[in-house]
């Protein structure tokens, strides 16, 4: 297990390293040049000043050399400054990270709490009216664009009913816990709905498969209580593939969070990545993207480990 983990960590580290170079290169290809942007703010600059600035910031050197310079700093914990916020990148990223984490944890817990009972019920009563309703909901959930769902929720709860705020983190001049929670309701709901749909589908198909197995018939034949059969014998086995999917879904939550946060002006990581890409804030965008990659890779790893932990037939030595 240790060996497996260390190999996988090494692989993930290599992927992140490769990604950092690719993203570094890609970000250089985006429109706008940092020096041009600086110049546009000061009419007194001459082209000689521009050339000097380029040399100061090392922008006259080839791409790979610049990348190595950045990497050297990054390994030492220096990720550069944000052009937009005039602060070190980490100072900006860390609080945003925390905000996104709140969002994702709530969304994840709620969707698991809803999806497992719903999926199990649908699998126990296939083709029933409730199963078909759940199925319809799942199809709707995966077909609804996240930004449109967010718009619908804003129209319904903020414009028509006026019960919840349309966005932001807190109401100006108010800092109570309740106010914070009220601002979380709609973003969490947006993230949760698509996720519930996805996870329910996997739970349902996993359970239907497992409920056909011989050991379920055996369990019933020896007189085990039906609830025990479903929740202990069947669910535990059905969860093996589902857990993997759920870990991967967390990665999707991160992408979904980008849209959700943008829609609700929620100051999280996703909105930070999006805003910094649009504002040519290269250092922040780079760290944001690399962070998103690392989280997805880490979740893949967690999925593999859970797979082995839940299924004794699989072992990574």
């Amino acid at each position: 297990m240790t060996r497996f983990l260390s190999i996988r960590f090494l692989q993930a580290a290599i992927v992140v390293l490769v990604m950092s170079f690719v993203v570094y290169g890609l970000i250089g290809l985006m429109p706008g040049d940092p020096i041009d942007i600086m110049l546009s703010g000061d009419p007194n600059m001459t082209s000689a000043d521009a050339a000097r600035l380029r040399a100061v910031y090392g922008l006259d050197r080839p791409l790979f050399e610049r990348y190595l310079g950045w990497l050297g700093g990054a390994v030492g914990g220096d990720f550069g400054y944000s052009r937009q916020h005039h602060q070190p990148v980490l100072t900006i990223v860390l609080p945003r990270l925390l905000n996104t984490l709140y969002l994702m944890i709530f969304a994840f817990l709620i969707s698991v709490a809803v999806a497992i009972p719903a999926g199990v019920y649908a699998a126990r009563h296939p083709r029933s009216l409730v199963d078909q309703a759940i199925n319809l909901f799942c199809f709707a959930g995966i077909s609804l664009p996240v930004f449109f769902l967010a718009l619908l929720l804003i129209i319904l709860f903020a414009v028509v009913l006026r019960v919840l705020p349309a966005g932001g983190m807190t109401t100006v001049g108010e800092s109570s816990f309740g106010d914070r929670v009220r601002h979380l309701v709609l973003p969490v709901a947006t993230l949760t709905i698509a996720n519930i749909a996805q996870v329910t589908r996997y739970v349902r198909s996993g359970m239907i498969e497992v409920l056909r197995e011989d050991y379920i018939r055996t369990a019933r034949a020896k007189g085990a209580d039906e609830n025990r059969v479903v929740w202990r014998h069947a669910l535990r086995n059905a969860m093996i593939p589902t857990v993997t999917i759920m870990a991967l879904e967390c990665g999707t939550l991160l992408s979904g969070a980008l849209i959700t946060e943008t829609m609700f002006s929620y100051l999280g990581m996703g909105k930070l990545i999006f805003d910094s890409i649009l504002a040519n804030d290269f250092n922040v965008a780079l760290i944001g993207l690399l962070f998103a990659c690392s989280v997805t890779l880490l979740l893949n790893l967690v999925a593999d480990v859970l797979y082995a932990a839940l299924d004794p037939r699989i072992s990574y030595r």
Partner: protein, 319 residues
């Protein structure tokens, strides 16, 4: 001897007459597909939207309206006979823009799904057939690709300045660039599903007798892959491509919504919604129509994909 043969033939003919005539596989698939009401409705919705998209210029000519002509004196007109859904923030007929937007969204969905499927199929065939290091390399690439955060990567790719990649100015400045770009970048990130699928089919078919026979006869690799193996993988590829096109339309509309996809004045369902957050307070319905169309298209594609899957492979029915 001759009489014996003729009796045998007659007997066989009588046997054949007793059996129902052989059913063509396509007909069997259609019969099973027909039993899936949601898929049928989905197919109907898609055909209707596709017809509207194809006929968009005809409808524009008949209504005597131009979906890109700005008319600032007629902003946010309420629904009327001339403008059944009213006009948008630049005074353009919303219904016509929605129809033209459908043209873009369906085009992107169809073309990108085909490109994605071809790219994925080629990679899958090569990976499954050659095995060994080629397979290991391509599948690791696939794993790494899946680990990328989809939306942020697409946003970076969409933001790349075409002149900095060395594209000639004629293409870089072309108004259709945003359309080609979105097709290209979504194809680049979405090929993994079909690649894995086709690789699996290729692996299982490669040891089968009919493929071995083709190998023994000295058929070229390309012939084996494309004439013997590919046809057997077509139905899962078709299902995957149908489901993928739904996701592609979602991605396109999301990018266009964020202002990084299809660029105005060209209409797309996503970019009609771009400033929706400002108009929801005054014109909430204007934000609802395009979203409903995206939703209807994508859910229809998902239902049709699901129906096709059951129709091609009855064993999966009800799962």
């Amino acid at each position: 001897m001759a009489s014996v043969t003729s009796t045998e033939t007659a007997a066989r003919a009588a046997d054949d007459a007793a059996l129902p005539p052989p059913t063509r596989p396509a007909l069997l698939v259609w019969r099973r597909f027909r039993r899936h009401p949601a898929a049928l409705i989905g197919a109907g919705v898609l055909i209707f939207l596709a017809l509207l998209a194809v006929l968009a210029p005809v409808i524009a000519g008949w209504r005597g309206q131009d979906h890109e002509a700005v008319d600032l004196f007629n902003r946010f007109q309420p629904a009327s006979a001339a403008h059944p859904l009213g006009t948008d923030d630049l005074g353009r007929d919303l219904l016509l823009r929605l129809i033209y937007g459908g043209r873009i969204s369906l085009f992107v969905g169809l073309v990108t799904a085909c490109l994605t499927a071809s790219l994925g199929t080629t990679i899958g065939l090569v990976s499954g057939w050659y095995g060994g290091r080629v397979d290991a390399f391509l599948m690791r690439l696939c794993d790494g690709w899946i680990a990328l955060p989809l939306l942020p990567v697409l946003i970076v790719l969409a933001a790349v300045d075409p002149t900095k990649v060395g594209l000639p100015a004629a293409i870089a400045k072309s108004p259709d660039l945003s359309l080609y770009r979105i097709v290209l970048i979504i194809s680049l990130v979405a090929w993994t599903t079909s690649a894995r699928l086709v690789r699996g089919v290729t692996l299982s078919l490669k040891t089968r007798d009919f493929v071995q026979a083709a190998v023994a006869q000295g058929a070229s690799t390309a012939r084996i892959l494309f004439v013997h193996i590919l046809p057997n993988a077509l139905s899962p590829i078709l299902v995957a491509a149908t489901l993928a096109s739904g996701n592609i339309i979602l991605l396109e509309s999301t990018l266009s919504f964020l202002g990084l996809g299809i660029q105005p004045p060209v209409a797309s369902w996503g970019n009609i919604l771009t400033n929706a957050q400002e108009i929801i307070w005054s014109q909430p319905m204007q934000a609802i129509y395009p979203g409903v169309l995206i939703f209807a298209t994508v859910i229809s594609l998902n239902f049709v994909g699901d129906g096709l899957q059951d129709a091609f492979d009855p064993r999966t029915e009800g799962r």
